[in-house]
Symmetry: none
Subunit: 272 residues, 2 copies
Amino acid sequence: MVDVADTPDPGGEQAQPSPAVTGAGVQSVDRALGILEVLARTGESGVTEIALELGVHKSTAFRLVATLEAHRLVEQTADRGRYRLGVGILRLAGATTARLDLVQEARPIARQLAADTGETVNIAVLSESSALYLDQVAGSSALQSHNWVGQHIPLHATSNGKVLLAGLDDDGLEAVLGTLATYTSRTITGLPELRAELARVREQGFAVAVDELEVGLTAVAAPIRNAHGDVIASMSVSGPSFRLPEEQVEEVVRRAVAAAVEVSHRLGWGHR
Amino acid sequence: MVDVADTPDPGGEQAQPSPAVTGAGVQSVDRALGILEVLARTGESGVTEIALELGVHKSTAFRLVATLEAHRLVEQTADRGRYRLGVGILRLAGATTARLDLVQEARPIARQLAADTGETVNIAVLSESSALYLDQVAGSSALQSHNWVGQHIPLHATSNGKVLLAGLDDDGLEAVLGTLATYTSRTITGLPELRAELARVREQGFAVAVDELEVGLTAVAAPIRNAHGDVIASMSVSGPSFRLPEEQVEEVVRRAVAAAVEVSHRLGWGHR
DNA sequence: AGACTGCGTTTCGTCAAGCGCAACACCGAC
DNA sequence: GTCGGTGTTGCGCTTGACGAAACGCAGTCT
């Protein structure tokens, strides 16, 4: 057919081989997924707002959103309203965690641990330079308490994070650690101090964080290992500091370590 | 050519048993989301398999998968391996659950249930070896029972409690159960009888309690589940026994179960 | 060993699918 | 009323996505 190259290639203007900053493959899909991320960040947005954020036209954003809506990944608040993430995400997330034998094996034990201690139990893995929470079992009260699943948490200021860091070698540590942000007066911000703390964690087989991420929040964590002995995840018990005084932390640590060991066994660690 | 979405029809797109993509919208996005659904169903698939399932060419499927991978929504098992859902899904889910509150999602449905039955509706969760009532919607009748919100109620003598217990495994059951106090002559006090009753509850998907906590008080309850299928709460309809004769209980049970299922769906429970 | 078959991956020319534009319906505020 | 804002919808044009075929690599059968 006609070669309507109105804008001919101006001489040697090679197309940049990697023009896409976002690592784009299929662009419309890329944009659609961008919409999901925008909604995850903002919680709720209108079509115009989304279009602005993505740098595309309103109508484009609308069509993408409509497609996402057909799959229940987003939903609109009113008949003529803004959009937010929908339940389809949750169904996919359920399938994601169901697939992870880690979560499968850990869940009953986590539940038992939560029942024994009366506090919230979390399971986290290392992901993209932070701790990603895979699963959570609420403790005594407040099943509606804040859900951390899917959240990214700083590594140096949490018991889970310290356990995960302690499982890395020096190279891995350097690759993962960024700047050590300060959250409270007790947050470990110096690299030497952190290394010392990690050595202690490695030696004693658990980590404790009191008021390091948030004042009044105490957490203990223990490593979960795979068949090779690598630390692949961390299991934590956390609650308000007043409910977890020092003498009780010992008992909680004992239970948490035992639970983590049990999960590790189920994953094939130290068999026979 | 194909008319894109003659009518958006946001309601009737379910129950397409064939893996064929749902249709309307931006085609490539539609296919990409189809891939997510395929992976959610199969747990793990190769490019060729996905392409076959979607009815597209291998290369097309690959490009879509690669785009999804760039956003961490899928990941491949090995360097040259199959694909499965990734952690990006969990991050999105975190943003979704952040706004999902059990009480908030359940209240409109509970209100409808109360209106339909004319009786009081309660929502309870497991907390510290008893049932904690989170919310209550009064029925239409003048005869009101007192407000139970915030109260801790014995697990073995209420319909809500039995539903919550039925959601536990044996270990959890043992951890939670104390002594089975006697409230009326119909209270279940023997552990074997309770186990049998819980098995029945588990099988039929609801619980009934007549005069077990208090003479003259009848209640039915159905489980509310999260995305993993765990029983996280229980929704009950309760009223004076004389207003809930046996033949009417059937109808109330049907409504209560339907309401609980609806709430579960809003919380991401699959299985339409 | 070698041929063969399967996989995931890459390249490339073609064409229709998706894009931006602009107009639309609708709502609330000045 | 007008204006500015929203989400929504046709419509041509072109860009971006598609399918066919080739490629590199691992197993596996002969």
